[in-house]
Amino acid sequence: MSIIERALQAAQKPATQQPRSSNRNTLPRVTELPLPTVADVPPLPLRATLATGIFPDLDRDIRFLKRPLLARLFAPQEQGEQQHTLMVTSDLPEAGKSFISRNLAASFAQEKMLRVLLVDADPVRRSLSNLLGVADRPGLMELIAGDAVQLSDVTLATDVEALYFVPAGQSREDATELLASTQMAAFLTALNDPNTVVVLDSPPLLLSSEGRVLADNARQVLVVVEAGRSTAADVAQVVDILRGTSATVSIAMNKVPVAALSYRHDMYYR
C-alpha cells in the first residue's frame, strides 16, 4: 500500500500545485510541471518511431482519431473523478496497438495542458519497451508487484515534450495475474489527475484474459481493428467481451490500405 500511496503522491504532486479551476487558461502549462523521472536515463528516442516521420497522411489520421477519443476521455465522470486512462487493445496481436498507442500518446502530448503517460502493459511481448530499448529496465511489473519501486523509479522521459514512458518491466510468470490484480487498479487510480492521460498498450483481448480486467479498470477502451485481417467473428467476440465490462468502447481501423479508401475520402484529405 505504501508504494501505491507514494506513487499517488508523486502523481498528484502537480495536481496539488495546480488548483482545480474551470478556467484552464490561467493555469500554468503542464510541461512546466514535469513528472519525476529516472534521472540517469536520457530521453527516449520516441519521436523517430512516430508516424509523422513515415507518412504525413498517417499523422493526419492520428489527429482525426484523437479528437473523439479526447472528448470521451474528458467526458464528465461520476463523483468528480479524474481518470483519463485509455486502454489500447485489439483482438489479435500485430494489429498495431503499439503503433497506435505511441502515436496517440504523442498526439495527446501535443495538446496543451496535458501530460501523457504511455505504459507498456503487455509484459509478454513488451513491444514498446523493446522498440525503445528499455526492455531490461524495471517497469510496470515491478511497480505493481510491490518490489519497493516508486513510479518515479520507472518513469522515463522521452524526446517528446510532456510524454513519459513506463516500460513493461521484467517478464514474469505471474505477469497476467499481476495485471489482473487489484494493485493494477490501484496504480491506475493513483494516476487520477485532470491533466494526465494514461495510455495503456495492452495485450490482445482474444489471446489472454487480463485484457478484460484491464478494461474494467481503464473504462475507456480503444479496440484496434486491423483492416483485412481481423475477421468479423473476432471483432464480434471482442465486442462481446467488452460488453461484459464497464468500459466504453471505441473502435479504430488500422492499416487500412489506401486502395480501400474511397475516392471521396482521398479528396477530402488531400
Binding site: A51, I54, F55, D57, L58, D61, I62, F64, L65, K66, P68, L69, G96, I100, L222, V225, A227, G228, R229, S230, T231, A232, A233, V235, A236, V239, V249, S250, I251, A252, M253, N254, K255, V256, P257, V258, A259, A260, L261, S262, R264
Partner: protein, 534 residues
C-alpha cells in the same frame, strides 16, 4: 440540391465501398488462389497430354430412298417422305440390336467377353458413332476410336451391314409389294366373278324383258310390235274385202258366163260315166281284135260295160235335167277359177286371223309389263356397270403385277439402295481430343477455381477494410481510421509482391501458350508418324 445529392450519392457509394472491400478481401487470398490455379493447370494439362489420340474414320453413302415400292404403288398408296426415310434408317442403325451386332462383328467388347463389357461397348458406340445427313440423300457415317484400325473396321463393317441390310430390306419390300398386289388381284378377281355371275343370273331370270343385242329398249320394241300388228290388221282387212267380192261375184244375180256356152257344147259335155263307157268300149274293141269273145278279159270288159250302161241309165232317169244344168255350170272354167280364188282367200284369211291374234297377244303382254320393264332395265344397267368397273380394276391389277415382275427383274440386275460415294477411310491426323480447347478449358477452370476459392474464403471469413464496413456489420461507431503507412522498402516489397503475383499469372498464361504450341508440334509429329506408318 445539396439534399438531393446527399440522398442520391450514398447508394452508389455504398455499393462501391462494398465492392471495393470485397475485392480487397478476396485479394488477401490471391496467393492461395494462384497456387490452386497452378496446381489445377499442371494436373489438368498433364491429364490432357496423357489422353489417347482419337482417330476418326468415315464413309459417305448415297441412300436411294426411291425404293422398289414406290413405282409399284404409285397412285395406290401415299408415298413416304424422303427425309423421314433417311431418319428412319439412322434410327435403325443406332438401334441396340444393330449396334450389338456391330460390336460382335468388330470384336469391340471382346477382351473379356463379358456381357457388361459388350453393353459398355454399345453405349460407347452410340456416343461415338455418328450418322450425318449431308444432302438430301447422302449420309456420312463417322466413328472415332483411339485405335486407328478399329475405327476403320467399325465403319467398314457398318457400311457392309447397311448394304446387306438394304438388299434384304429391298427384297422384303418387293415381296411385300408382290404379296399385296397378288392379294388385291385375287380380291378383284373374286369381285369380278361375283358381278359376272350376278349379271348372268339376272339375264336368265328376265329373259323376256331384256332388250336384244340391237339395243332396242322396251318402248322401241312395243312400237315395233304395234306396227306389225297394224300391218297384219291391214292385210286382214284386204283379205276380207277380197273374199266378200268373190262371194258376191259367185252368188251374183247374173251368172252370164256359163249360159252362153250351154247350147254349143251339149255333146261334148258328157257325164263321167259316159267317158268311162266310151273308154271301156274302145278297150273292148281292142281286146276283141286280139282275143276271142270268150277270152276272160273280153268277158270281164263286156260285163263292166254292161254295168256302166245300166248305172248310166238309172242315173239319167233319176234327174236328167238337173244334172244337165249343173254339169253345164260346173263345166264353166271362169266359175271354177273364181271358186278356187275364193277358197284361197278363205285360207289366207284364216291364217291372217291367227297371226293377228298372236301379235295382239304379244302387244298385250308387252303392255302388261310396262311397269316391270324399266326396273329390270335399270337393274341390268347397274349390274353391267359394276361388272365393267370390276373388270377394269382387275385388268389394272393384272398389269401392275406384270409390272412388278418386270421391276423385280430389272431391280435384281441394278442392285442396291445404297451406293458408296466415299469408301471407308481413316484420317491420318487424330481427330481428337481437342487438346487446345481442353487446355483452354483447364486454364479457365483453374483460374475460376482459384478465384472461387478466394471468394469463398472471403465470404467464410469476412474482414473489414474501412470503418464503414464495421458500421455496416456491427453498427459500431468507428472513431477513426488509420491508413496503412508503408516505408519505402515496405512499399517496394508490396509492389514486388504484386508484381510477383502478376508474374505468376503471366507465367501461367505463358505456359498455356507453350502448351498450345506443343500441341500443334505434336500434331504435326503424329501426322508424320501416321504418314510413315501408312
Amino acid at each position: 440540391m445539396v439534399q438531393l445529392r446527399k440522398t442520391a450519392a450514398p447508394d452508389l457509394q455504398v455499393i462501391l465501398d462494398i465492392a471495393r472491400s470485397q475485392v480487397l478481401g478476396c485479394w488477401r487470398h490471391r496467393w492461395l488462389a494462384l497456387g490452386l490455379a497452378w496446381a489445377l493447370c499442371c494436373l489438368g494439362w498433364i491429364a490432357v497430354w496423357l489422353m489417347p489420340n482419337v482417330y476418326g474414320a468415315y464413309a459417305r453413302v448415297y441412300v436411294d430412298t426411291q425404293s422398289v415400292l414406290r413405282p409399284l404403288l404409285e397412285g395406290l398408296a401415299v408415298g413416304s417422305d424422303v427425309l423421314s426415310e433417311v431418319a428412319l434408317m439412322e434410327r435403325a442403325v443406332m438401334s441396340h440390336p444393330n449396334l450389338e451386332k456391330l460390336v460382335r462383328d468388330t470384336g469391340l467388347g471382346m477382351v473379356t467377353g463379358e456381357r457388361r463389357e459388350t453393353e459398355l461397348a454399345i453405349v460407347q458406340l452410340q456416343k461415338s458413332l455418328k450418322l450425318r445427313r449431308d444432302g438430301d440423300n447422302t449420309v456420312t457415317v463417322s466413328y472415332e476410336n483411339i485405335d486407328r484400325e478399329k475405327s476403320l473396321q467399325v465403319v467398314t463393317t457398318l457400311l457392309n451391314q447397311l448394304i446387306e441390310g438394304a438388299m434384304d430390306e429391298n427384297q422384303a419390300d418387293r415381296s411385300t409389294a408382290e404379296k399385296f398386289l397378288a392379294e388385291k388381284l385375287k380380291e378383284y378377281e373374286l369381285r369380278l366373278n361375283e358381278s359376272e355371275a350376278a349379271l348372268a343370273d339376272f339375264k336368265r331370270k328376265n329373259i323376256g324383258l331384256i332388250p336384244g343385242d340391237n339395243n332396242i329398249d322396251y318402248y322401241g320394241r312395243l312400237q315395233t310390235e304395234l306396227a306389225q300388228l297394224g300391218v297384219i290388221e291391214g292385210r286382214l282387212r284386204a283379205a276380207r274385202n277380197r273374199r266378200s267380192e268373190l262371194q258376191r261375184q259367185i252368188e251374183g244375180e247374173d251368172p252370164v258366163l256359163g249360159l252362153l256356152a250351154e247350147d254349143e257344147t251339149p255333146a261334148v259335155m258328157t257325164s263321167p260315166q259316159d267317158r268311162q263307157i266310151l273308154e271301156l268300149e274302145q278297150r273292148l274293141a281292142d281286146l276283141r281284135l286280139r282275143y276271142t269273145e270268150t277270152h276272160p278279159q273280153v268277158v270281164a270288159a263286156r260285163e263292166t260295160l254292161e254295168q256302166l250302161r245300166e248305172r248310166k241309165e238309172a242315173a239319167f232317169k233319176a234327174g236328167g235335167s238337173q244334172v244337165r244344168a249343173y254339169s253345164s255350170l260346173n263345166l264353166n272354167p271362169v266359175y271354177q277359177q273364181m271358186k278356187i280364188q275364193l277358197s284361197q282367200v278363205e285360207v289366207e284369211l284364216a291364217q291372217l286371223q291367227a297371226e293377228y291374234s298372236d301379235q295382239a297377244g304379244v302387244v298385250a303382254g308387252l303392255r302388261q309389263k310396262v311397269n316391270i320393264i324399266p326396273e329390270v332395265e335399270a337393274e341390268l344397267k347397274r349390274l353391267v356397270r359394276d361388272d365393267d368397273v370390276n373388270r377394269s380394276q382387275y385388268d389394272d391389277m393384272l398389269r401392275r403385277v406384270e409390272a412388278a415382275r418386270v421391276t423385280e427383274e430389272a431391280g435384281s440386275s441394278k442392285g442396291k439402295a445404297f451406293r458408296v460415294i466415299d469408301p471407308p477411310k481413316v484420317l491420318a491426323d487424330p481427330v481428337g481430343p481437342n487438346r487446345p480447347l481442353l487446355f483452354t478449358a483447364v486454364l479457365v477452370l483453374a483460374l475460376g477455381a482459384g478465384a472461387g476459392v478466394a471468394i469463398a474464403l472471403n465470404l467464410l471469413r469476412p474482414v473489414f477494410f474501412t470503418g464503414k464496413d464495421l458500421e455496416r456489420r456491427f453498427g459500431l461507431a468507428v472513431v477513426g481510421t488509420v491508413r496503412q503507412g508503408l516505408s519505402a522498402t515496405e512499399a517496394i516489397a508490396q509492389r514486388q509482391a504484386v508484381m510477383a503475383f502478376v508474374g505468376g499469372i503471366g507465367l501461367l498464361l505463358v505456359s498455356y501458350g507453350l502448351m498450345l504450341f506443343l500441341t500443334r508440334f505434336a500434331g504435326t509429329a503424329s501426322l508424320a508418324a501416321g504418314g510413315l506408318g501408312a
